[in-house]
């Protein structure tokens, strides 16, 4: 490359920047870099904030669960690596007081616990708790509210746990790692680890589990796990992080992460579209200079170097401004939501910066490549024959090149070929449909554009004449509208679904152990106190003893990871069995047939009793349809055949059961009942009064857990809103750029019409009509493509139910027409405000 080439390129770049020739393409690059940087930086920070928040639900960043104490060297190694550690032992044990007893979930914690989240305590049972920064002193125990009821004790009384007596010093209202299921979990008792040995509960045959908590930097944790993994025994150990968490929180965070990824991917596509549009415009505006240079003897190589250098200069400038702008936007957003979402701005993430720069460069280079190739092919003969354009005319190359580039970018960024493929395929379908639509339009336009030349006819005539250009423009409008719709609808559906899980009035108290005789009185008493009580579920307790006549004890202890034991089981001992002819709301049969379906009354008496089991337990215990389960209920043995497997939503905070049995099997047993109700927080004080007449009924308070869930759902929803606003802003800018670019192409025609004396109102109306028509078509096509993409995304990626979005079939064309029409009108107004000679001179 000669100095002349460099200096010429630099001079052209400098002048063109000054004269605003490069504004659109520069803006497009700035936009791509700024939006990708701000989005990914924000989502990276948000993700750490959410992971941090979610980590509270396992009380640490990582947890090692074990059925036996682990080698102390493992913990020492973690400490040497700079990780924080804590330890807790869990045991199922009987607690005695006042000649009452109850089975409890005994937790003995050492002083580091909890590494994440808070322990909350209260001075009175069933009252709101406050966070406390310490653990029970030696000899003291903190008990959950319901134990005060079942053991008939007060603060200051003593209880007996194994061989040791503890003084009850506080009511335990919340521990971070409580889990989210309501039943099966026994009331918790928290003691200091130093007292555990004295209780002697860790004897042979006892059910004791050990949790080791770790916090620290993500990479150190990963490094530690790499060291630890070869030494772990799958039968004994389980390494958990919140990302593995199957609970509502884990899924909400996982889904939000995917949403951010989707939003960023769409932002990249938006940016790419705007760069492609801008590069096209840039290329067309340089046909003349290229023809002149070639005429004056410039070799092709020199022309190529000059323009590639210009793109390089523009890209570098765009990257610089984009990075600064993206950082500022992100900083503003973080500042704006600082009081609602705990996002730390102290941590700098390099990945988003690298991604943004990579995206900006790849977009700028790949998307300007085809327009540049066209530019290079301009013949010098254009200096004599002004109608000559570029010789390269295969749009297929353009579609394949830009499509491939978009796909590669999405894939590289997401490292998720599924998301990329879904978006990409729907994009292709959109483009093909749009092309078909455009040619339909040409045909319609030929008919509609005939007759006296009014604004409407002018609009159609222009669409007809510029069919190919319009098709490109139409595609870019439709893609933009589609991407915005996807981001909007996904956000609505996702937030809606989260909120549906925990609607206002979700039960926050559960009643267990209601006797048959008490049931009507309790219902009446609650009604008198304006508390709505939910359905009563009959329950008998049964011990699960065998599967297909094989004793279950070994099967249970072997397969039953203690995370599950702690959370939702009851299988180590007695299970709650209920019966029902109807399937509970929010559950569905995934295999087999629901109890008694397709039964013939004559054969009922002959076939075995049916049981429907929950999917999770079926997987865990390796149960399948047709298996024979044996329960010991009271003194009787009952055999049941698995006829259906249900999917149960454990996050619904409704009473749910592992085993639902057909009523026939249990008619000879006397049940107790389970029910639930919602008591607003402001009426919390009434609870003692409300429960007074029913001393034997156990009350379980799940308010704290619901609030934990709500809190995180609210934070994630809010974050999603901000992402939505960012993407909408990016989309709006792209639309403006597109209208601006197409306005340019209309300049010549406007100047001629103006020169010929056409009134401003006619010209303006014709341009507005043209844009409205394009907007309506783009909107309609976008709605169709959105529906398809959403169906794929929701079913394949977000694992949520897909539904129709009919409203957008109306909204999208209207909004398309409005937005594109208004932008067109504004662009046109700018052109018409210039005088005709200025317009003409600009064309030369």
């Amino acid at each position: 490359m000669t100095n002349h080439t460099l200096s010429l390129a630099w001079r052209l770049f400098r002048h063109e920047t000054k004269r605003g020739e490069l504004t659109i393409i520069l803006l497009a690059i700035i936009l791509s870099v700024a939006s990708v940087l701000s989005l990914s930086l924000f989502s990276e920070r948000l993700k750490s904030a959410l992971t941090e928040k979610s980590a509270e639900f396992i009380a640490a960043d990582r947890v090692l669960d074990s059925n036996k104490p682990v080698d102390l060297a493992w913990i020492e190694k973690a400490q040497q690596m700079g990780l924080n550690t804590a330890h807790q032992t869990y045991a199922r044990s009987m607690v005695f007081a006042n000649e009452q007893m109850d089975l409890v979930d005994l937790r003995a914690a050492d002083k580091g616990y909890p590494l994440k989240g808070e322990v909350k305590v209260a001075e009175k049972p069933f009252s709101p708790g406050t966070a406390i920064n310490q653990l029970p002193n030696s000899g003291e125990a903190w008990l959950e509210s319901q134990l005060f009821q079942t053991l008939a004790i007060n603060i200051g009384d003593s209880i007996e746990v194994g061989d040791k007596i503890f003084k009850v010093s506080k009511v335990l209202t919340e521990v971070p790692d409580a889990g989210f299921s309501v039943f099966g979990g026994d009331p918790k008792v928290l003691i200091s680890k130093v007292d555990l040995a004295a209780t002697n509960v860790e004897g042979p045959g006892s059910r004791v589990n050990y949790s080791y908590f770790f916090t620290g930097e993500g990479d150190v944790l990963d490094e530690y796990y790499d060291w630890l993994e070869p030494q772990l025994d799958r039968e004994l150990h389980d390494w958990d992080s919140i990302e593995d968490d199957e609970s509502g929180i884990g899924r909400a965070v996982g889904r939000a992460g995917k949403y951010f990824l989707l939003a960023s991917l769409l932002a990249i596509v938006l940016a790419a579209v705007s760069i492609a549009v801008a590069a096209q415009r840039y290329s067309m505006r340089h046909y003349d200079p290229v023809a002149i240079m070639k005429t004056l003897g410039a070799p092709k190589k020199m022309v190529q170097q000059i323009y590639l250098l210009q793109i390089l200069f523009i890209t570098i400038l765009g990257l610089l401004i984009g990075v600064v702008l993206g950082f500022l936007i992100q900083q503003l957003v973080v500042a704006a939501i600082a009081d609602k979402v705990d996002v730390s701005i102290d941590v700098w993430h390099w990945k988003p910066l690298i991604i943004a720069i990579f995206t900006g460069s790849v977009c700028a280079i790949l998307f300007s490549l085809y327009p540049l190739m066209k530019l290079f092919s301009v013949s010098p003969l254009r200096v004599l024959r002004r109608d000559l354009g570029a010789n390269l005319s295969s749009r297929l190359i353009q579609f394949v090149a830009s499509g491939g580039a978009i796909f590669l970018l999405m894939w590289a960024y997401s490292q998720n070929i599924e998301v990329s493929a879904i978006l990409f395929v729907s994009g292709i379908i959109l483009v093909i449909s749009l092309l078909a639509m455009t040619f339909g339009l040409i045909w319609v336009g030929r008919k509609l554009g005939q007759g006296k030349m009014g604004a409407w006819q002018l609009a159609w005539a222009r669409i007809h004449r510029r069919a190919m250009d319009n098709s490109v423009q139409l595609i870019s409008f439709a893609v933009t509208i589609m991407l915005l719709l996807i981001v909007l609808v996904m956000r609505n559906d996702m937030v809606q679904q989260w909120q549906n899980q925990l609607p206002q009035g979700t039960p926050n108290y559960f009643l267990v152990n209601i006797s048959q005789a008490q049931q009507p009185n309790l219902q009446q008493h609650f009604a008198d106190n304006q508390v709505v009580i939910e359905k009563f579920y009959p329950v008998v307790r049964g011990r699960f003893v065998a599967v297909n006549d094989e004793k279950v004890r070994t099967a249970v202890s072997k397969e039953d990871p203690d995370e599950q034991t702690r959370g939702r089981d009851g299988l180590g001992r007695e299970a709650n069995l209920t019966w029902s002819n109807t399937l509970q709301k929010g559950t569905e049969v995934v295999k087999g047939k629901w109890l008694g379906d397709n039964d013939d009354t004559d054969t009922v008496a002959e076939r075995p009793y049916e049981v429907s089991i929950e999917q999770g337990i079926a997987e865990r215990m390796d149960l399948s349809l047709g298996d024979k389960l044996t329960f010991n209920i009271g003194s009787e043995i009952v055999d049941l055949e698995v006829t259906s497997i249900r999917n149960v939503n454990w996050q619904s905070m409704q009473p749910n059961f592992f085993f639902v049995i057909e009523p026939r099997a249990l008619k000879s047993f006397i049940p107790t009942y389970i029910s639930s109700f919602n008591l607003p927080t402001e009426r919390k004080a009434d609870i003692t009064e409300l429960m007074k007449p029913f001393a034997n009924v156990t009350l379980i308070d799940v308010d704290a857990r619901i609030n934990q869930l709500r809190n995180i759902v609210d934070q994630v929803s809010l974050a999603v809103e901000f992402i939505l606003v960012l993407v909408l802003a990016a989309g709006a800018l792209v639309l403006i750029a597109q209208v601006q670019a197409s306005m340019d192409e209309r300049q010549q025609e406007l100047a001629i019409l103006r020169t010929l004396g056409a009134k401003g109102t006619l010209i303006r109306a014709s341009v507005v009509f043209e844009f409205i028509i394009i907007g309506v078509v783009a909107g309609a096509m976008a709605a169709a493509a959105t529906e398809f993409s959403l169906y794929m995304l929701q079913t394949q990626i977000f694992e949520m139910p897909a539904n129709w979005h009919l409203e957008y079939w109306f909204i999208a064309p209207i909004v398309g027409a409005l937005v594109v029409g208004v932008l067109g009108a504004l662009g046109c107004w700018r052109l018409l405000s210039l005088n005709t000679s200025h317009l003409l001179r600009q064309m030369v």
Partner: protein, 234 residues
């Protein structure tokens, strides 16, 4: 300087092959000024584009300063244009994002002359636009733009200058000035001039006229010396 032998141009249209330039043979001597005249659509510009190597001939041979252009590809023709040819166009064809001075420098820079700026400044003075050096084309009048274009055409000291309707976009007063400037520079630098025009007054200033009609060269005649002299004095 230019030697043509049966050159023709055929284009493919939707209706089939169309010969827009019938076989033509003529020579142009070094230092000679030749006008190609004829009505619109008679094939003047096509002939010019072939002579200048902007387009390829369909048939025939064409030699520019002894070099056979029919055998050259676009790159070689560009090289030849850069080395030996200057251009002036009806619509000036200045690069809008370069200043007057930079537009003039362009051919010298493309050719790799180290003193491009000095040359450009000298010639800018010659065309009387030194005070407009840093103006962009759209800040100049039509006459001024064409003067910049003339300066650009002469900066590389071309052996042949092709001009396509050089006064077509100008008013009478500006046309006269431009014509005068063009012929002065042409004479001073002993350049061969080939211009396309339908302005008979301008054509009369050339030593020879080629008349085109419907793609055919119908007449070649020399302009009487007295007429040339009278025009120059006028």
């Amino acid at each position: 300087m230019i030697k043509t032998n049966g050159i023709s141009k055929t284009v493919t249209t939707t209706q089939g092959q169309l010969q827009i330039l019938k076989p033509i043979s003529f020579d142009v001597k070094a230092g000679e000024s030749v006008a190609i005249v004829g009505a619109s659509g008679s094939g003047k510009s096509t002939l010019l584009s072939l002579l200048a190597g902007l387009d390829e001939v369909s048939e025939g041979e064409i030699y520019l300063d002894g070099q056979a252009m029919q055998n050259m590809d676009e790159e070689q023709r560009a090289q030849l244009r850069g080395a030996k040819v200057g251009f002036i166009f009806q619509s000036f064809m200045l690069v809008q994002s370069l200043t007057a001075l930079e537009n003039i420098m362009l051919p010298a820079e493309i050719a790799g002359h180290a003193d491009a700026k000095k040359r450009a400044l000298d010639i800018l003075e010659l065309v009387g636009l030194e005070h407009r050096a840093s103006h962009y084309p759209n800040q100049l009048s039509g006459g001024e733009q064409q003067r910049v274009a003339i300066a650009r055409a002469f900066i590389s000291e071309p052996k042949i200058l092709f001009a396509d309707e050089p006064t077509g976009n100008l008013d009478a007063a500006n046309s006269d000035k431009i014509e005068k400037l063009l012929f002065e520079l042409n004479q001073n630098s002993n350049t061969t001039l080939v211009l396309v025009t339908h302005d008979s007054k301008l054509a009369d200033k050339c030593q020879r006229q080629l008349h085109m009609q419907a793609g055919e060269l119908t007449e070649v005649f020399a302009t009487p010396v007295s007429e040339q002299a009278a025009q120059k004095v006028g």
